[in-house]
């Protein structure tokens, strides 16, 4: 079933929408959730929450890219759950490693966090991604959006682990420069 037919099922409030979503995107959402939570049960619950959120959002929302739309929800829910679980013990998993890497791009300026809105930073990152070569952009998003491990990315691309790590280091540096240039650091 194609995406528009699945979205039509949501609009018709037909519960088969959830089954079709699970059948087509269940594995995709699970892989995102598992990358974050590294726990089967937590990942399954996050996927389940993803479907519920999609059910409540469509309609009125009509996503043009259903997979990416669901992936966004799954990532948001999983990171939220990861934060709750790890509130007192920030250890383990790709999120923790990715966060440490992102420290480099986030900087340590004195700008109060409240001054910089999430939406502003997201828009800036969108502009930044537009400037990146295709391969760098994909690798950056595999690492920091999908939270894939560097080993996995190396396996998928055929590049060496050190090449991926160095590419990511370079991209983080560019991102930091752009955020600083736009006054977001």
């Amino acid at each position: 079933m194609d995406d528009s037919q699945i979205v039509d099922l949501y609009f018709a409030r037909d519960e088969q929408a959830i089954q079709e979503t699970d059948s087509k995107y269940g594995g995709y959402c699970y892989s995102i959730a598992y990358n974050v939570l590294t726990n089967q049960q937590d990942a399954e619950e996050s996927v389940s929450d993803t479907y519920m959120t999609a059910w409540n959002s469509i309609p009125p929302k009509r996503p043009s890219l259903l997979g990416a739309f669901l992936g966004k929800i799954a990532r948001h829910i999983s990171i939220d759950r990861w934060r709750k679980i790890n509130a007192y013990k920030r250890t383990g998993g790709e999120v923790q490693i990715a966060l440490e890497e992102l420290d480099e791009a986030a900087g340590h300026s004195d700008t109060p966090e409240a001054v910089v809105s999430l939406a502003e930073v997201t828009e800036s990152i969108n502009r930044f991604l537009c400037t990146l070569p295709e391969m760098e952009r994909r690798i950056f998003l595999c690492r920091y959006w999908y939270l894939d491990s560097i080993n996995d990315i190396a396996g998928k691309t055929g590049f060496s682990v050190s090449k991926i790590a160095s590419m990511l280091h370079r991209v983080r540096g560019k991102l930091r420069k752009q955020l600083a240039k736009e006054g977001l650091l």
Binding site: S64, L65, A68, D80, L118, S124, N126, W145
Partner: protein, 358 residues
Amino acid sequence: MTRDLLLDAIGGVDESYIADAQILRDGKASFVHRRFPRKTMFLIAAIIVSLLAFTVYAAESGRISNWALDYLCGTNQVLEDSYARTAEEVYQNVNQTIEVNSCAVTLQAAISDGKRAFLSFHVVLPDEMKSDALHYSFEAKPMETDYPEASDQKPGVASYGWRTIPDGNPEDNEIDLLFDSFASNGNSVVPHNGYSWSFELKELCASNRDANGKVTVESIAQGPWIFHFTFSSQYSQEPVELIQEPVSIWAANSLIINRLNLKYPCLFSIESLQIRAMTATCTVKLPKWVPVGDFEMRPITLSMKNGDVIPIQWDNLLNDGSGTLNLHGTFPVPIDAGNIESVLFPGGIREPVSETIQ
């Protein structure tokens, strides 16, 4: 900025980028990675080049049949019916009628409001196509989605969508089609003055219902019909602010707490409310205790002078924790700001707007 904020911000990037990166995860992207030794690659390339050279030679000298040439080089399908494929490019102005595949197509309206663009066609089919068709539909495909005015300055192939709005009167032999272009991330997609825009109509279909109620869809004319539009400022609408002062509203049963689906009343402050022809923008302040995540806002509706009540449909009601949200809304049909009598907020608060607009 904290690394957590950066991680969250990355989570909100454009969906087209996310889908694109998934290609790499699926292993469908092309890589520099060399699977074969250099000598083997050279050998394979030499064989392919030799085969191609032989094919061209054989075709030129008539030593292989046409079907084989067609198979190798590809060929266009030709329809057997009288409505054969045409590939003409059509230039059309508002209120102008053109004929494509024996169908008279009139562009009735073209409006852009800075967030969405709207086109309305009126199509009259020839008598021989009439039969007992219940409704017709176009399959629309954007040909060019490089909007230079988009605020992110990138060609947004996957950022912009098209949809058709169903024919209001399916039993006649006429079709009113609305093409609706919108940006998923709130970017400006306004085709500004003088900007040409083109897209492709692929197919015109008729749907017929038999005695058992089974619906069959039949293709009665195939394109592509390529339309070009050049927008002028005459068809663009500026945003209109509907409220002068912030409005506080008790949006009862407005909040969904996690998956428990518990709903609590919540006092929102509407700081600003702007409308355009087809979109609305609203700035909302939420109390600090509202948790991050989805929430539900009771409808804000427009009361029109002709008695119509039009709800604003909000996209992505998601509290990102910042406390101030910029909501993007849409209307099912284009709105004329001069015809709005009042805005009705949850809790029965009515804000007259006619003076503001004047």
